[in-house]
């Protein structure tokens, strides 16, 4: 990635223009010929640097419930557990972490009852005790900034 790629990534991560011709506006802002900008964007997508142009919504303000959950899984059963957990469309992110509680995942569903129900299904499918499942809903947001400083 060169300097131009970094500038493009930085600009694309910040507010993507709400306009019929967003890429033209970005090209103008960055003072780059439009064709060059568009080529680079396509390339960054092809390389997997840009996953997608995301529309990040506040699930709570939209009326949905969400939580962070974790389960404690024996090392040998991680793959199977990851598959079972990942099968739920309500599970949006899931990570393997080094801890006694080793699979962590976020859930978004219609309401808290539905979340409780899904966690119970996961618990019983994985034959876990209740103490091996954590449900940690958010109380307060201090920061949400999944934008990264990109340098070449």
């Amino acid at each position: 990635m060169d300097k131009l790629d970094c500038r493009i990534l930085q600009a694309l991560q910040n507010d993507f223009p709400l306009s019929p011709k967003p890429y033209e506006i970005l090209a103008h802002k960055l003072q780059v010929p439009f064709e060059q900008l568009w080529d680079r964007v396509q390339q960054l997508k092809a390389e997997g640097v840009i996953r997608r142009i995301g529309v990040s919504l506040d699930s709570r303000k939209l009326g949905f419930a969400s939580t962070l959950a974790a389960v404690s899984i024996e090392p040998g059963l991680v793959e199977r557990a990851a598959k079972i957990i990942g099968r739920f469309p309500e599970v949006t992110h899931s990570y393997l972490r080094k801890d006694n509680f080793n699979i962590w995942f976020t859930l978004i569903a219609a309401d808290e009852e539905k979340i409780g129900h899904i966690l119970e299904q996961i618990r019983s499918a994985l034959s876990l005790e209740s103490s091996q499942v954590l449900n940690l809903p958010m109380k307060r947001l201090f920061k949400l900034n999944a934008r990264f400083n990109v340098s070449s």
């Binding site: 990942g86 309500e90 080094k98 801890d99 995942f105």
Partner: protein
């Protein structure tokens, strides 16, 4: 939750991101079945209402030299949780900072996502964070692997 038909269709189309095209709003509007202007107007309104946080590229941070990351959880005294959360959120290496409910077998109440180029960078940052907020009961949960990452599905039926 109460959504109009148009809003439901918007969620179904936009939950996976904007179309990967030169005129993404125009193409999204066509799928939803409304005019581009109407779509942009509703998105502006959602932004004002706080329903829409941001439209922007989702970058794979492993590919931009930030391969190391950890979730760091902190046990702040409940009367200090706001203060501690704000101090930790102020670090530029921190992308997310939340207060969460505790559980009887998990007493950590402040959650931060810390990023860096190497595990050592992350470790150093966490030590600075601990000094800054005065909380020494913390735990670093190193990310070993991403198991799943998809955009939230608000609406099950896809219109695509």
């Amino acid at each position: 939750m109460e959504f109009s038909d148009v809003e439901r269709k918007m969620l179904a189309v936009l939950q996976d991101g904007l179309p990967d095209t030169l005129r993404p709003y125009e193409d999204a509007a066509e799928r939803i079945g409304i005019e581009t202007d109407e779509l942009l107007t509703i998105l502006q309104r959602w932004k004002q209402q706080g329903r829409l946080r941001r439209i922007g590229a989702i970058v794979n941070h492993f590919k931009v030299g930030l391969g190391a990351g950890a979730m760091v959880v902190w046990q702040a005294q409940s009367d200090r949780s706001e203060e501690v959360g704000k101090i930790l959120a102020g670090f530029e290496e921190v992308s997310h900072a939340y207060e969460r409910d505790i559980s009887e077998n998990w007493l950590y109440n402040i959650y931060t996502m810390v990023h860096g180029a190497t595990a050592e960078d992350v470790q150093n940052t966490v030590e600075r964070m601990s000094k800054a907020c005065g909380v020494t009961e913390y735990r670093l949960l190193v990310t070993e692997r991403e198991l799943k990452k998809v955009a939230p599905k608000y609406i099950k039926e896809s219109l695509k």
